[in-house]
């Protein structure tokens, strides 16, 4: 196995005075597709934001490709939660995707036709070419999520962080997004995804990080994603989610 491209050591973070994350240690290898799973309030989004320097950390260090975030940021792509932005903003889908290129375009320059073309290609890849000039508030939730994914693709990063890209999207969008994620993995990119649906974890991710304010378990899905570990992560609340529904799924199979 290659050397880890993300090393998180002794990371902790708080919101106001409540410590949300403590003693976070893990390493991620290149080319993996990791699901970050845990109950509500486990700090999944905060973990992403803290790793990406968007939220202050209390302690610890994060290294990408052996470098601090600032030096590696051009190789990193981030997809925030869809609900984190105002979709009534006066702009269209193509323009939102072009924003993914603003870091590369640099100061005092305008996006060129080439940039627009790359943005259009990324939209096309997400099956959204027909909506390029559509005002973003007129897109459905799934379409908005695809626009966000297209924006991440156009960044052409090596390492992607996505915050609940599958939350509240239609089945077709979920399939489209998973196809893209598996494609990214196939060409050697690394992806970490905050995920909320326990039933699809085994199908979607080759690695899983079970989180509840600290890392409960992290590793290959088939080894880590066991009933016992899930129970440890979700505490007493998992019974109905874990046992019964898993059971139901198996009986259908």
């Amino acid at each position: 196995m290659a050397t880890p491209i993300l090393q998180v050591e002794n990371l902790s973070a708080s919101y106001r005075k409540n410590t949300v994350l403590h003693d976070i240690n893990f390493e991620v290898n290149g080319g993996s597709l990791t699901g970050i799973v845990g109950p509500n309030g486990a700090g999944k989004s905060t973990l992403l934001k803290t790793i990406l320097n968007l939220h202050p950390s209390l302690t610890g260090s994060v290294k990408f490709f052996g470098l601090p975030f600032i030096k590696a940021k051009k190789r990193i792509g981030y997809v925030p939660q869809r609900g984190s932005v105002d979709w009534d903003f006066p702009t269209d889908a193509l323009d939102v995707v072009t924003m993914g290129l603003y870091g590369q375009i640099g100061w005092l320059r305008r996006p060129s036709r080439l940039h627009k073309e790359r943005a259009y290609e990324a939209l096309d890849k997400m099956g959204m070419a027909d909506y390029a000039n559509r005002q973003i508030s007129q897109l459905s939730g799934g379409q908005q999520q695809r626009v966000f994914l297209a924006r991440a693709l156009v960044q052409d990063a090596d390492f992607y962080f996505m915050d609940e890209p599958l939350a509240g999207v239609d089945a077709a969008t979920e399939r489209a997004i998973m196809t893209i994620l598996k494609e990214l993995k196939a060409i050697g990119k690394t992806v970490m995804v905050v995920h909320h649906d326990l039933q699809t974890v085994e199908d979607y991710f080759d690695h899983v990080l079970l989180l509840n304010r600290t890392v409960i378990k992290h590793g290959k899905t088939e080894q880590i994603f066991t009933r016992e570990n899930i129970a440890n992560t979700y505490g007493g609340n998992m019974r109905w989610m874990g046992e019964e529904q898993r059971h139901a799924v198996h009986s259908i199979e």
């Binding site: 006066p90 323009d95 603003y102 100061w107 005092l108 924006r151």
Partner: protein
Amino acid sequence: MTYTAWIILTAALVGLSCGVIGVFLILRKTAMMADAISHTVLLGIVIAYIVTREVSGTAMLIGGILAGVFTAFLVQWLHSLRVQHDAAMGIVFTTLFAIGVILIATSVGNAHLDVQHALMGEITFIPFHMITLPFIGAIPEATALLLLVLAVILFFIIAFYKEWKITSFDPALAASLGIPVILMHYLFMGLVSVTTVASFDAVGAIMVVAMLITPAASAYLWTDKLSFMLVLSGSFGVVSAVTGYYIAAWIDTSISGSMAFATGLVFMISFIFSPKHGLIAKRVRPAETM
């Protein structure tokens, strides 16, 4: 130029600068920061006067920028100490404004500055303070100041257009791309401050809020394109300012009050008739929202 021409030109410049900068106030959801800053720049202006002992444009601009950015900083700081954002704003701006009022009453006394003037402005006096500039000739000082500020605002908005757009729409992505979101926030607050200071003489601290927010809120209803929204908002500002002047001349009332009233009229018209988000449009085709 006649007095009337100078007054209308000054009013139009106020409308244009405020209209353009107001777009980002609306889109960044910080409209009420305009209210806070428009009051606290008074403190900056008073302190600038106490330090320099003259009512000069540059000193006022610098004082105003410092006061405005200081306000933004204090609000952010209180908010980080678990004071609610709107409460933090209310606390900071009333306190700083009160200090300004006290200083006017105690230290600045008889001067050009008084509270009435600061709150309501007095655009009719503007042609009485002429200065002479190279190439342009005689021009009222307030008008010259507004021209300078308009140039500064347009420069910053055009030069950093895509950065304003991304930090307004998605600050998290902007930060992850390495764009200095916090620095841009304070730069923007500085721009709001200079606009407010320059508009102070003409429309005063309270009416400048109307000029900053209402044209932009109206433009927001007409278009789905940011660049067009900027043009539209600036135009609405100019139209309101000029219309306001004629309303005031017609019924012989406060000019700044009429200008603010005109922005309200523009908003009402937009709210009812806008083809995209107007009341009538929603009635006519309610199904076509998705």
